[in-house]
Structure formats: structure tokens, C-alpha cells
Symmetry: C2
Subunit: 632 residues, 2 copies
């Protein structure tokens, strides 16, 4: 965590100095905004936290609820999401309060007594094997709390406008704020100073993000169709505090029995668990009657499935019934096929993909929607990038949503099988393990585009597949000899990262650094004259040698920039590969990096954008020029 560089900070360093729109932010929703976020779920709140890092952009978030979410909804957190939380500054805190999935156990009918279940398999969870972060379960409400904190503590000081309902919008052809949005106050706002319930408002926005869930009004307003099928299978879900003799109450389990199926998810705090209980096939003429299944019936089913074990429910914290649907929206923005114009309205999260809850994916994919969109909006609205950048949102995220739906459909079907349909009792566990990287969030691979390069030089950095998320590894910070995670230095601040891994001789690095220091380099061209030299491109070097052999005075100055109002040298861009006393890892070995040197370019949302040799300076300049605008 770096601070004090704008002068001594006495209080919580997580509270950044207010700037721009955050300096005198009106309590009332203004008539004109740059970004209007509709909805305060995982995508919307991540987006709010991201936009708070762009204080020159006026962003507001409207939510229909009178205040923070209190209960229920999603709880599965992929390692990929925890990586994202790290970039927003709250990973260590949420890990400390969440349930950490160490194992997933599988239960099936006892061959000797098919009316009883027995444990068939214990399976290590995949989380810590493919990320430095675990796989967690924690209530969505807490995730939203942390994003709300990040939004409020960022320079733009963004807090949601609660109790505001979306009514409709119209995209005009011109004007600085071409999207006309109709809203209605549905309740008092949090401060309750004005009776305004029922009052309608019009807000003009430059861009609108529809983060308003499965029944998205924004989706309807831009004429999208939510395409797919509702399955004829219903599930009850309950968050319950119980006493039980079921020994795996605190372990994630898939339970298959003659009486039905349960997906069992322990929750944060050591007592609470969530159960997804199979309510069976739904008749075609049911007309959603299944949704009124009483909690007593859900508990009764759970006990029937768990036999010979049982649960004694002491408190129901939340429960619901849903029918599994798998739908993807035909468009993720307001641009019709074949039309070439800047998208003005975007859909994220459940507004554009809905599916079962049982693979624990929804909240995670929604957050990555927000992460993909946020930096692009920030870059365009601050003049760093052309508006064409915004077309990449739908192009990148719609295929991810389709993959998710396909994965979830398969997983849901496997989970809903009856015992007689199961030929191999291990196949659910086998499927779970074989596909672990997908539900962890690590299989997303964006195709080549203006912001993803070709894989021509992939062999120089085999551990950083172009288009996939940058996987952190331990390195040694030269200035203090501490082992740190290279990726953790990158915060969700809208900046691109350029990691230079020198050649063993050092001459290629020296030439590359000298080139970067010239006035015609991307560093100079794409950075506003009045901004810090690392405001757009954050350039770091990771030497091959032991940290103690790096002679700091001989390191090219481009890696030791002087920034901030005091012009202080930044010591934290110069690293060395381990091992040393504090780490066993040599990042060159661990990530398959060429000893001849390589440059890895990473997007603001942590995806590897390009891999290039140190000598490919023209290609680097060209690549960055595809999505960044010259500033001088």
C-alpha cells in the first residue's frame, strides 16, 4: 500500500484524498451526469468503485432499495473475484470473515441401504491450487458493503442514490449527454430530509450501465431480448441455522439420494449453511405455483434427502424457490447489428445472463462485467481513449456469458440426476475437478482486438497467455528486499501495466528503457502533460538477478519516476526474481519467461493484453495507439 506521497497521511490510508467531482459532490441527483449506473448489485457496485477512481467523471448510482442489501442472494466467490477484491483493496478483510472452501464432498445412496446416504468422495477444492487466493462463500451483502466503501473512499466519493427506480430511457442522436433517463423516487432517501416518494425525474447521461438484474428495465428500454429457456426443474434455497448430526454441515457437499438432491454450501461465521434442495420436475401447467412452496416443505424435503441424518432448524435467515432458467440477452449494448456507432447503454450481470445459482458463478461473472466496462468508460470520458473502445465491452463479455450458460446447464443437469441415472458414482466429482478452472473464473480468454494482441510472441512468456488474466507471482521488491506479489501492486485505478522482464545481459532492457524515455515514446505521447508520468502507463521492471545485486542508482530512471506534488521518487516499480530468504519462487521459471527478456502488457482489468520482445518497440507503440489517444 503506497501513501504519504502527497504529504503525510495521519488517518486510514484506504481513504484516498477527494478530487474533482468528489470535492463538492451534490447530495441530490444532478440533472446531467457522465455515467448513470442503474442498479446496486455486484456489477453496479463494482462499477461505482471503479468510477470513483475517475474523479473527473461525474458518476451516480441509482438503486431501488432504500439502502444497503441486508439478506440473501448470491454467496459464491471465485478466486478470480478475490483477486479482483485485492485490486479494490479489501481482499484480506473479506477473506477473514468468509467461509473458505477447502473441500467438496460427494454423498450418494448407501448401496447396502439405498434409503440412506453415505459419503462417496472427498475432493480438495481447487481454489488455492490455481490462485494465491481461496475460494470463498460470503453473503453478497458483504461484498456490496466493501465495494460501497471503496466507492465512498475513492477520490470521486461515490455513494448510491437509494430509493430511485428506473422507468425508461431514450438515446438521442446527439448532445453531450445523449441518454435521457426517466427515474422515480420510490421511497425516502437515506437522510429522509424530503418527502419525495413518487416524484419523477429526468436525468441526462452520457452513458448508462444497466446493472438492474434479471428483470432489467434498461434491457427492455433498449429493446433487447432475453433468449433461452426456463427448465422444468425447481429448487428451494434456504439459509439456515440448525443443529444436526449430519457430519458435513460445515463442508460443501453435493448430495444425491432417492428422495432428491441437495447442494450444500456452508456459509461465513461457523454456523450458517445454505442448502439448495431439489423440488423436482415442474408440471407444464404449474404456472409458477412451485414458487409458493412453504419453508416447512423445503425443510421436510431436506430431511428426507439427508436420511439417516436430520436437521433441526433453529432459525431461517432467508429462503426462496426458483425455477432454473438459462438465458442470454441478444445484445449487451444499445447498438443494433450492422450499425456502427458508439454504444451509449450497456447491460451487465443478471440483466444480460441468468442461470442457476448452483455453480456459484452469477455474482462473479457480473463483477467481471463491471470490471471490463468501468475502465473503458473512464478512459473514454477522460479523453485517454477513443469511443471505439466501448464496442469491445459487448464483444468481449457476450461470449463469456454464453460459456457460462453452457457450463451451468451441464452442471445443473448433472446435479439434478436421480440415482438410477448415475452410472459412475464418481463422475460428478470427476466433472467438478476437470472443469475447476472454469468456475474459478480463470478460463476467460478474450480474442485479439484493439486491446488484445496476437499470440505471435507467446513463447516468450508461456505463463501469461494473451487475453487471459494476469496471474500474480511472488517477486522481491528491490528497495526493501521483501517478497511481495507482483500483481498485487496493481490496483483497480484504470491504469495499464507494462512489466519489463530484462534480458540476462541487460543491453536490450537498457535500449528499451532509453526508448521509453524519449519524447516520442508511448509513455510521453499518451500521458497528459500535467499528469504524473505513470498516470496512464505504470511501467515496472523485474530483474533476473538476486535483489541485492540490483544497483538502484544504475536502474534506468523510467523505473524510478518522481511523482506527486512533492516530486518524490517511487521506489516500488523495481523488482527482482526470487528465490531469496522470503520466497521460493523464481518468476522467470514459474511463468515461463524468456531469459532473453520480454515485455508483458496488462490491461486495467488485469487481463494480459500483449506479450512482446524488448526489441519490438514499434509494435508496442502501435498496439497501445490502437486504444490510447495522443495527449500532446
Amino acid at each position: 500500500m503506497q501513501f504519504h506521497h502527497h504529504g503525510y497521511v495521519s488517518g486510514d490510508p484506504r481513504v484516498q484524498p477527494a478530487a474533482g467531482a468528489g470535492l463538492d459532490r451534490p447530495a441530490e441527483l444532478p440533472d446531467e451526469v457522465d455515467v448513470l449506473i442503474v442498479g446496486s448489485g455486484p456489477a453496479g457496485m463494482l462499477l461505482a468503485a471503479q468510477m470513483s477512481q475517475f474523479p473527473d467523471v461525474v458518476t451516480r448510482v441509482v438503486g431501488r432499495r432504500p439502502g444497503r442489501l441486508a439478506l440473501g442472494q448470491a454467496d459464491g466467490i471465485q478466486p478470480r473475484s478475490v483477486e479482483t477484491f485485492q485490486a479494490f483493496g479489501f481482499a484480506e478483510r473479506i477473506v477473514a470473515e468468509a467461509y473458505n472452501i477447502g473441500w467438496m464432498n460427494f454423498w450418494g445412496p448407501d448401496p447396502a441401504d439405498p434409503g440412506h446416504i453415505v459419503r462417496t468422495t472427498r475432493t480438495e477444492d481447487y481454489g488455492l491450487k490455481i490462485s494465491e487466493f481461496p475460494h470463498l462463500i460470503v453473503n453478497q451483502a458483504r461484498v456490496l458493503d466493501y465495494f460501497a466503501e471503496a466507492a465512498a473512499q475513492g477520490p470521486a466519493r461515490i455513494v448510491p442514490d437509494w430509493g430511485v427506480e428506473f422507468l425508461g430511457l431514450q438515446v438521442h442522436e446527439s448532445g453531450e449527454h445523449p441518454v435521457e433517463v426517466r427515474l422515480r423516487h420510490v421511497a425516502e432517501d437515506a437522510d429522509g430530509t424530503e418527502a419525495r416518494a413518487g416524484r419523477e425525474r429526468t436525468v441526462r447521461a452520457t452513458f448508462v450501465a444497466g446493472c438492474d438484474g434479471a428483470r432489467s428495465g434498461v434491457r427492455t428500454a433498449i429493446g433487447c431480448r432475453h433468449v433461452g429457456v426456463a427448465s422444468a426443474h425447481a429448487w428451494g434455497v434456504m439459509d439456515v441455522l440448525v443443529n444436526t448430526d449430519f457430519p458435513d454441515w460445515r463442508i460443501k457437499c453435493a448430495i444425491t439420494s432417492a428422495a432428491g438432491n441437495i447442494l450444500h454450501i456452508p456459509r461465513e461465521g461457523g454456523y450458517l449453511s445454505r442448502m439448495y434442495i431439489d423440488l423436482g420436475a415442474v408440471a407444464e401447467d404449474d404456472n409458477h405455483r412451485v414458487r409458493s412452496t412453504p419453508i416447512e416443505e423445503i425443510v421436510r424435503r431436506a430431511n428426507a434427502i439427508l436420511s439417516p441424518y436430520s436437521i433441526d432448524v433453529r432459525q431461517v435467515a432467508w429462503h426462496s424457490v426458483y425455477e432454473v432458467g438459462h438465458r442470454v440477452t441478444d445484445r449487451f449494448d444499445d447498438v443494433l447489428p450492422g450499425v456502427a456507432r458508439t454504444p451509449r447503454v450497456f447491460l451487465t450481470g443478471d440483466a444480460c445472463h441468468t442461470h442457476s445459482a448452483k455453480a456459484g458463478q452469477g455474482m462473479n461473472v457480473s463483477m467481471q462485467d463491471g470490471f471490463n466496462l468501468g475502465w473503458k468508460l473512464g478512459a473514454v470520458l477522460t479523453g485517454r481513449s477513443p469511443e471505439t473502445l466501448l464496442a469491445t465491452y459487448a464483444a468481449e463479455r457476450r461470449p463469456v456469458a454464453q460459456e457460462l450458460i453452457d457450463f451451468d446447464r451441464e452442471w445443473s443437469s448433472l446435479m439434478a440426476r436421480r440415482p438410477e441415472e448415475i452410472t459412475d458414482p464418481q463422475d460428478l466429482a470427476t466433472h467438478y475437478l476437470a472443469t475447476a478452472e472454469f468456475p474459478s473464473g480463470f478460463m476467460t480468454r478474450y480474442p485479439p482486438s484493439s486491446i488484445v494482441g496476437s499470440d505471435e510472441h507467446q513463447h516468450l512468456a508461456t505463463g501469461y497467455p494473451v487475453g487471459m488474466r494476469f496471474k500474480s507471482a511472488q517477486v522481491v521488491r528491490v528497495c526493501d528486499g521483501n517478497a511481495v506479489h507482483l500483481g498485487h501492486h496493481a490496483r483497480a485505478d484504470g491504469r495499464w501495466r507494462i512489466y519489463a522482464f530484462p534480458d540476462s545481459g541487460g543491453s536490450a532492457l537498457a535500449q528499451w528503457a532509453a526508448w521509453l524515455a524519449t519524447p516520442s515514446s508511448p509513455l510521453a505521447r499518451f500521458t497528459p502533460a500535467d499528469a504524473d508520468v505513470d498516470a496512464v502507463l505504470d511501467v515496472k521492471v523485474i530483474y533476473q538477478c538476486d535483489y541485492a545485486e540490483v544497483d538502484l542508482p544504475a536502474v534506468p530512471p523510467v523505473f524510478l519516476p518522481r511523482t506527486g506534488p512533492l516530486g518524490l521518487m517511487d521506489w516500488e516499480k523495481v523488482y527482482a526474481a526470487g528465490p531469496n530468504a522470503w520466497t521460493d519462487v523464481d518468476i522467470f521459471t514459474e511463468r515461463g519467461l524468456s531469459r532473453e527478456g520480454v515485455v508483458v502488457v496488462v490491461r486495467p482489468d488485469q487481463y494480459v493484453a500483449h506479450v512482446l520482445p524488448l526489441t519490438a518497440t514499434a509494435e508496442l507503440a502501435d498496439f497501445l495507439g490502437r486504444s490510447l489517444l495522443p495527449q500532446r
Copy 2:
């Protein structure tokens, strides 16, 4: 982190439900209190956080400042202190924002050019080798912020009464609140609603903790003498933001040069460092004139010492000059030698031991003073323990203070040597490493007393020396198969911990557990009838076998108690030794535990109180009966 057991918690689980005195806490300082803490430094604020876990006790903290500390003062945090922070719930957060000491480097005169310094040694810091927590540097203000948060979020909802000055006290011979304390409001309180500056107040307290620093008024009021000498050596200290070519600006260093000495301490945030700069011997007739040394002179000295390197100071965050003193107070409470009565007034921290800042000890030892005292006050005031327990505070902490002074005197002298006094350039580094456990805070060993047993059975648990702090180790939580730190489950909640390590056969454990479940066992006798069964003694078991082999339904019920208003089973008292998929550690091997089984008793302040065989039930009952009162 365990929660939801009193019903579903929607918000931050770190905020505990208010209870007792925390339910309707008066904003004004009341006329009568159980505990009055005078001073809001590290000892006082730890004590406040601890007392907040005793909501049936009325505790107030008075501080002279108008509000939180903003700047300066101590910054060294031993691993022992981070262990303590863990028990108060904020270790992971303060680690994330602190400077982590990975190395200590030593610089001396260049033999080829004695006017210039050269790096002579790099030394790994000891922190992570002797604790699972690192050795940190972070401003005292942040430590106080976190303790203030813990105090405010605990059940008693304790917040300091700011702007209140201590004037004097008188200890009366009888009465429920025998200490009469005179106070004066020196400034508006934080809410500024009432003009009361200058107004005097009398508060009657049952006990007073003097945490009011080196010029303690409480110390004076109880007639203690602060014994020792001021050395004739002065040091300047400054927290500065600089640009420099000194390559170790971000590494802790001891620098010895012909021009004087520097102890260099990098600080949190990546830019700031603290320098202790030798101002040389002070003339006998100086009369503290050295204390007015201007900052420019301190910077000039620093540059002279650093030659050929230099610092360009861009901002001075804080600076001061002090003369090294080494003093210990003759008594740590108000009981005169030879008198046998309950102490009513206690001294902690700088109020009873002052010394140089350069071993980074002061704040740490002060906090352990508060930790030692807090649970004892809570136990006595809630009727769990006899008042005789309070005499152990001075008996235990005064020798620790004396050891600290002796250590610091030696370290300060070594640091202040001139180059010509140094025969072996490595000896400072050698001394630093050889004594590492002391400055880490791990050498404290309390002698046998009513709360520390004999070492008769020490061979059964060689890794848990009786009287020393309980060193955590990884184990596997049986209910969920996660690797966790056994010691981290213990929070600073005033409870005793009893860890049962079963014999390999299990019959001794079965008998021990059966005994503990009888109505005459310490568990029944010392726990109030209306309290949770684990309210006084928190009993856990750590099996030798793999966690998957532990049959939870066969575990003795005493390890699976039902607590809280819902009577929910607590799953987190049953552990197994590793290794498993998530840890390499077998606690039996790691801590030298007998495979025949052993019971380890740990005090509320994390010190090992006793080591006993499973068969020694009478001895265990007797030992606990020395400091706990029967409740039924």
C-alpha cells in the same frame, strides 16, 4: 471468525452486539465507574478494547488530547504485538498497511575512505522466523485507531472521553468505588455541545489504570518514584519525505560513521522514513538546551553521517529531540511494600518504564502491560476471580520492565559508539541476531504463581514453555478440513483456553472429557449457571489422527457445546493435527507434544499457564481454583 450464532448478522461481523453498559452508555462521564483508564496511548487503548469485552463493567477512558493522536511517537511493532492484534481482530488490516521489516542492514566507514559509509552487512530480520506474524513499522496513531475501533465495536461500546486532564487521586479505605479521582475538562469534547473547558470533576472509581505516559500524574499521585538515569547522549528524530541517492532508504539500517550514527527506520506507505540521528554527548551544564536543536541542524547532521549520499528533504512530517533516559518506577501499583491489600491503582507503559526508542520496544511492552492487566480487572469485577489476582500485575510486569531497560541500555550504547570504539564491524549485527527473541517480545517468562503452574510436566509439551506466550501452530479444523492457526481462534475476550491433546489410544482423553462433564468439574464450578458453558473456560481438542478420521458424532460432547440463545452446536473446538492437503505441519511434532496426551492451559492474555497430563484432573482443578471463584 464466528458469528450468526445469536441469529443472522447482516452487517459487519466485527461489530459485536451491544450489551450491559454498552446498551445505553451515557455520553457524559458518570460520577461512578468501575474502571477509569487515565491516558489514551497504547496501554490505555488496549485496555479499553479489552474492557469492552466485559460489558457488565463500567469502564471509561479519559484522554487529555481533544481527539485521536495524529502524528509522531512510537512506530515499532514486534511480532508479539501483531499476535496480540490478531486477538483483537485487526492483524490482517494493519499488516496490509504497515512497513514489513524483511532485513536490517549495517553501514560503517569505508576502510578505503573513512569519510564515506559503505554497507557492511545485510541481516535477515527475525520476525517471520519466530512467529507466524511479521515485524512491522507503523505509526502509533494507526495502532490506536484500531484499538479504538475494537473498543467501540465491543459489547461495552467504549469510546474515550477526550479533552479530560488528570489532576489527582485519593485512595479511600472502603466503599464500592474507593478511588476518588479529580479531573478537569481542558477542551471542548468532540461533539462540542457544551462549553466546559476548565470545569473540574470528581469521579469515583473502583480501579484506576495510570496509562498517562512518562510524566504520569497518576504515578505522582500514588507516590511512586521513577528511578534511573538520563544519559548524557541526545538524539534527533524525524519522520521525513525525501529524495535521496542512499540506496537503503527503504531498509532498516544502523549506520555508524565518523560524523555520528543513524538508526534508519522505513515507515508505512513506501516513501516516509524515520531517522534517529546521533546528536552526540550532551554537556553536563546543557540543561536540556539540546532539545531546541532546529530541524535544519538535524538534517545537516544526517547528511554529514550519510556522506557520500545525501537526502533532499521534501517534507518533515514530525521531528523531536530527546535525551536517552532509562528509568523504572519503584512500584507498579499503589500497594506499599509489606502491605497486604488489594491494589486499586495500577501503572502501565511509559508511566512506569521509560527508555530509548531505538530498540522499538516501548509501545510493545506498554501494550503487554495493558493486556496483562485487562483480563484480571474484568475477571475480578465480574466476580469470576478473587481480588488477590490483581497483585499479580505488578509482580509479573515489573521484572519485564527491568529486563527491557537493561536490554535497551546495552543496545543504545552499542548504537552510540564511535567507529574507533568498534573492534569488530560485525558485532552490532551479531548482537542484533543473537538477541532477536527479546526485541520480538517472546522472551517474557512469568514465574510460578497463582496463575502460572510449575514446570513439573513441561516434558509433555516442550514447545509450550510454562509462563511464556502460547505459540500458535497450524492444525486442521475437523468440521471443514481447513488448515487454521490454533492460536488464532482465541480472541481477547477474557476467557481461559484449555487445549486437550489426546493420547493415541484415546482412553485417557475419554476419561478426561467425562470428568470435565461432571457437575463437580472446574467447567461446571467456575461457570455461572446462566452463562454459556464456555463463557469462562474455552475447551478444545486436537486429535493426533487425520481430520477425515475423526468421527464427529463420537467426539465427547464437551468439545461440541451448544451455546448462545439458539443453543447452536459450536463446530470450531475440534481439531486434528496435520499434515493434510492444506498444511505441512503436525502440531504434535512442531510443539513437542507427548503422544500420551497432554493438557495445555492458556491464560486470557495468551501466556501458557500450565502443562499437565490428561490424568492430572485434581491438579487441574486445584490450579484453576487458585484464580477462579466457584459460581454455584
